[in-house]
Amino acid sequence: MLEVSGITQIFGGVTALEDVSFRVNRGDITGVIGPNGAGKTTLFNIITGIYTQTSGKVVFEDKDISGLPPEKLARLAMVRTFQNIELFGGMTVHENVMVGMHTKSSSGMLSCALKMPWSISEERRIRNDSMKWLEFTGITELAEVEAGNLPFGKGRLLEIARALAVEPRIILMDEPAAGLNSQETLGLAHLIKRIRDLGITVVLVEHDMELVMDICDRIVVLNLGRKLAEGTPREIQENPEVIAAYLGDDD
């Protein structure tokens, strides 16, 4: 479904990623792990169109998406979340999710301003359908709260709800458990499984090993900008190179 091949990224003189390749299977939860500075977030930023790689390519559903901007990727049903949650702080929780339906609506500036009949009915559809995602993530009662006032954990849920409103076929989450307490992390694990059950492929960068081992079907390990290993959670846990990278070599 998603194929990353030979990605190299050079910032100035620093090689952040070197010849990284892996595949993500449809319907899987795939984890990307690695020590700090391994290049995980850079890799995410390349896949989701925030950066353009120095070389290599990204293929999504048989289409080369290298270098496409994020808004085009959203139309191809790829969406992401951010490590430091990016919300629309001045808007309500409900409005945030309504923006998520941007690609599922089409009224232009003039028909919105002149309240043409089709834009009125479209607006009603956006308003109603977006509630579904608030329910799915369990934040319906916060619908009218300004997003900037949400506690961090709820903000994370809102960001996921907004991403789901895009109706993606793949969602990439950058450290979704960062900043969450253990209770919230448990809820998140359950939520991610439910997202997969909707038929959405999930890729996540994560530091919380327990979470990764619990929910991921496959894991890709990066270290110092290179792919160190790839496999099931069990294979990764037993891989001596991975253990060495995380715990340090004996010699």
């Binding site: 808004e71 923006v99 941007h102 009224s107």
Partner: protein
């Protein structure tokens, strides 16, 4: 939505009944300018308050509308009703083309670029004497005329200008409360997150810049046809700053706030006649005070103030 409509009806009734209070007179003339400035403040607010993109050159678009209308109706003897939309379309297309390179810039750089744009337009008004009359201005611009009525008095112009202003108010409120308005605010709050959920932020910024220029141009044309005389001095950097002050004082991201800001800054000089030469200092001071103590503008700050006074009284009762 019902509440929005109610607010708009109440506002319209207020605007339409206001002249009964004054029965003509000089103040009517000032209130015509309040209308024109309200349109301009709303135009700038769509860009600054909603999309979060600054412009220090909006007086330029205002001036272009005024001059295009003025030149087409005097030198080329067009009908004003034809000149106005043609001017608006020309200005809109110009803003659209300029918008692509300029709106790539952010923050201070965008402020500088739009500042430069405004100054260039101002210089063109001054220097192309054959076309614009240069510093001495362009006179003999015809009044608007509709159904045998010539809009040549303050009262007639009041209803003409405010009729159009109310349309701009409604247009902008509808836009703000729509899919496009939400996308604009999303770009303002987090451009990258807006892009990730599919908003083409770059195009949207250029579109709203062009729309803002079109409304400003329309206000400029109306200004030309109600004044019948225009000169570059009305469209300089000072006026761009004054517009910015109106938007910030009234309230960023609020259409009615733009009206409050425009009303205050248009009426204030009438009451501060003695301090005329110091107006820019007063605007600057107001701007600083507002940003420090009422960052939400009058439209949010004043109700807040009342609430606070009310609360502190309640507290005193308990003690």
């Amino acid at each position: 939505m019902k509440r929005e409509l109610l607010k708009f009806v109440a506002f319209s009734v207020f605007v339409l009944l206001l002249p009964l209070q004054f029965k003509g007179g000089y103040l009517m003339n000032v209130l015509v300018f309040v209308g024109i400035n309200t349109m301009l403040a709303i135009a700038l607010n769509l860009l600054l308050g909603y999309a979060g993109q600054i412009s220090l050159g909006h007086a330029g678009f205002f001036g272009l509308g005024a001059y295009l209308s003025g030149i087409l109706t005097t030198t080329y003897a067009w009908n004003p009703w034809q000149a106005m939309p043609v001017a608006a379309i020309i200005v809109g297309c110009m803003a659209y083309l300029i918008g692509f390179p300029v709106l790539k810039l952010k923050g201070h750089y965008l402020a500088m670029a739009t500042l430069g744009l405004g100054i260039i337009i101002y210089i063109v008004f001054n220097e192309t004497v054959d076309l614009t009359g240069g510093p001495s201005g362009l006179s003999g611009i015809p009044y608007l005329e509709a159904g045998g009525i010539v809009f040549d008095s303050d009262v007639k112009n009041y209803y003409l200008i405010w009729g159009i202003t109310l349309a701009v108010v409604l247009f902008s409120i509808n836009l703000a409360n729509s899919r496009v308005g939400r996308a604009l605010r999303a770009v303002h709050d987090s451009e990258v997150a807006a892009q990730v959920v599919g908003v083409n932020a770059r195009l949207l910024k250029v579109q709203i810049f062009a729309l803002s220029a079109v409304i400003s141009s329309l206000a400029g044309s109306l200004y030309a046809h109600t004044m019948t005389f225009i000169s570059p001095a009305s469209f300089g950097f000072n006026f761009s700053v004054e517009l910015l002050t109106m938007v910030v004082i009234g309230g960023l991201g609020s259409v009615y706030g733009s009206f409050l800001g425009a009303a205050l800054l248009t009426l204030l000089p009438e009451f501060l006649r003695a301090a005329q030469d110091y107006d820019i200092i007063i605007y600057g001071g107001l701007l600083v005070l507002m940003v420090m103590f009422m960052p939400g503008g009058l439209v949010r700050g004043v109700p807040d103030l009342f609430r606070r006074i009310f609360k502190s009284r309640g507290g005193a009762d308990h003690a």
